[in-house]
């Protein structure tokens, strides 16, 4: 304990080097996303070379390639990155405010709430007033995810639940929403049932430019707000009592964070269906590589989420020749073993 008295070598140079190293890692992950995007642009049922991709981007060469690139490949690949970023950032904030490494928008039931909203639109055509056509499903999903987060927070506040209590409540809502979705599946027509199943599997095929703009705008809005709370969120990791003793209004911090999480998750799920485990995997990798200083942890979770879903998108298009597997299936196949490994690792510590 008194080793420091003997070694007075300042930590400042080492800490400065660490900061640079972290910035380098962030740049590296951004680079990984760019490479993954390039691969995602070119690989698929109709393989394109980088040259063909370049020509198509600048409206030269084959018209078919131009349509494939601008209407399918670019939106699909960019959607993977943006949705992954949204889920990664949302997952990191969720784990922090609930003090639980197994918490994510998925385990809080926000995805299932969105699925229920979407199912209501698909099966019963029940939606928001003034919203119709293809936007009805997405709007319902978004509103249900947001409503579920607010309800969860209200109940948690009223019952003065701890972080673990909120997670348990979230698990209860998962089962409730699943039961209601099953009920809707039971009464659905075969066409509606097929549409529901496809939606709940999670897919990037609904990507288009207006949707991309919306998700990007949400990220541009949320990230600065998250970073503004970075010190407070880091303090919250030291424990609620300690954070409160530092003058932080923990309830307000948690509510603001859950609102950001529900906005990101609601939009992601509204347009891409239920894609699980990104919000769990990305923060874990970020925590191991960057630590829990949220000035780095939050952007790192976001970038890693984007990269992981981009890889999943690549895998979904290329695992089976000529078939695009719903990307939610790929993330679940990778995510479940990851989830179990996290449970075992934390189990050992307990």
């Amino acid at each position: 304990m008194r080793a420091g008295q003997a070694s007075m070598a300042g930590y400042a140079p080492a800490y400065q080097a660490l900061q640079w190293q972290r910035l380098l890692w962030l740049a590296l992950w951004a680079g990984v996303i760019v490479l993954s995007l390039l691969a995602d642009f070119t690989l698929g049922p109709a393989a394109l070379s980088l040259g063909e991709l370049w020509q198509a981007l600048w409206q030269q060469g084959d018209v078919t390639n131009h349509i494939i690139v601008w209407d399918i490949r670019l939106p699909y690949a960019l959607m993977a990155v943006l949705v992954g970023m949204a889920l990664g950032l949302a997952g990191a904030e969720t784990q922090t405010v609930l003090h639980n490494p197994l918490a994510s928008p998925f385990t809080l039931g926000l995805d299932q709430a969105a699925a229920l909203g979407a199912s209501l639109a698909i099966v019963l055509q029940a939606g928001l007033p003034g919203v119709s056509g293809p936007w009805m499903v997405s709007a319902n999903a978004f509103v249900f995810a947001m409503g579920s987060a607010l309800l969860l927070d209200a109940v948690a506040r009223r019952a003065r639940l701890s972080g673990n209590g909120v997670v348990l409540l979230g698990i209860a809502t998962v089962f409730s929403f699943n039961a209601l979705v099953s009920l809707l599946q039971f009464v659905a027509s075969p066409e509606a049932l097929q549409s529901m199943v496809f939606w709940t599997m999670g897919s990037l095929s609904r990507a288009n430019w207006p949707v991309l703009g919306l998700v990007a705008a949400a990220l541009l809005l949320v990230l600065p707000l998250s970073l503004r709370s970075a010190w407070r969120l880091t303090a919250l990791r030291l424990g609620e009592d300690r954070a409160q003793s530092f003058g932080i209004d923990v309830r307000r911090l948690r509510l603001a964070s859950l609102l950001r999480v529900s906005l990101l998750t609601g939009l992601a799920v509204a347009f891409a269906g239920t894609i699980g485990f990104i919000g769990l995997i990305a923060p874990h990798i970020a925590r191991r590589l960057f630590g829990e200083d949220h000035r780095f942890y939050l952007p790192a979770s976001m970038l890693i989420g984007g990269a992981v879903l981009s890889w999943a998108s690549l895998a979904s298009k290329n695992l089976l020749p000529g078939v695009i597997i719903p990307v939610g299936v790929v993330t679940a196949l990778v995510g479940i073993p990851f989830f179990v490994s996290v449970v075992f690792r934390h189990g050992e510590r307990a």
Partner: protein
């Protein structure tokens, strides 16, 4: 004349369950450490949380004549720091960052360069400079307590509230932590309250003792006047002696429980 912390009629409750009732004691002066003693569930931690603003306060709490109860949480946090018993597990945050967080969590008006110099100085004083780049989840219990102390001190509080800082520490670390607490309390002219279970630590390292029973004050004053066989029999239900050792220091000897 009003220097120090004065508690008058302090009460606190969890919902409908009253934990503290009418806690009053003579002023606790700056530069002194007060041991908060009493059996489990008597309201020691509740008292500290109430003073820190974590629980609603009823009654009067003044520091140098200034009422603390009227201050909003952020303003009160400029004067008071409460350190709970332990840190959450699996906390992957470096020691220096955890101290920076304490300085930056709410606007203390510390310029970053000043704060960095203060953190440097603090870590050196507490003898933990070598731990600065280590992760919190790699530290021993004693090292974590010293880091917690650095987190509290970097906020330059007037009142330092430590909730069982010695639990799970070995004898050497208990003495080391208490010596540092006493030194920093004197140097910074803070009012420090420490929840303790070890009565001998209270006798040897604290200037005052506040003995609680069932949410009320049984005795408050110099440790030797508070920690007596009669008060220990009343509060803990034990037969005891308080005797001076060959160095002249008082020690509590427990003979058994009162049937």
């Amino acid at each position: 004349m009003n220097d120090g912390l004065l508690l008058q009629g302090v009460a606190a409750s969890y919902g409908r369950r009253q934990i503290l009732a009418d806690i009053s004691c003579p002023p606790l002066p700056r530069g002194e450490v007060t041991a908060v003693l009493g059996p489990n569930g008597c309201g020691k931690s509740t008292l500290l949380k109430t003073l820190a603003g974590l629980l609603p306060l009823h009654g009067s709490v003044t520091l140098d004549g200034q009422a603390l109860g009227a201050l909003p949480l952020e303003a009160r946090a400029r004067h008071v720091v409460y350190l709970p018993q332990s840190l959450p597990p699996a906390l992957h945050l470096r020691v220096v960052e955890s101290v920076m967080v304490a300085a930056n969590a709410t606007g203390l008006g510390l310029a970053s360069r000043h704060a960095t110099a203060d953190i440097d100085h603090l870590l050196a004083r507490l003898g933990i400079t070598a731990l600065a780049m280590r992760y919190l989840d790699e530290l021993s219990g004693g090292q974590k307590q010293l880091v917690g102390l650095a987190q509290a001190l970097v906020r330059q509080p007037d009142i330092l509230l430590l909730d069982e800082p010695l639990s799970a520490l070995d004898l050497n670390h208990q003495c080391h932590v208490m010596q540092l607490v006493a030194e920093e309390t004197r140097r910074r002219r803070m009012v420090t309250l420490v929840v303790l279970h070890d009565l001998n630590i209270a006798l040897h390292h604290c200037h005052r003792a506040l003995l609680l029973k069932d949410g009320a004050v049984l005795a408050c004053g110099q440790p030797a006047a508070v920690i007596t066989p009669a008060s220990l029999a009343s509060v803990y239900g034990v037969q005891s002696r308080v005797e001076a050792c060959s160095h002249g220091r008082l020690n509590v000897l427990i003979d058994g429980v009162i049937a």
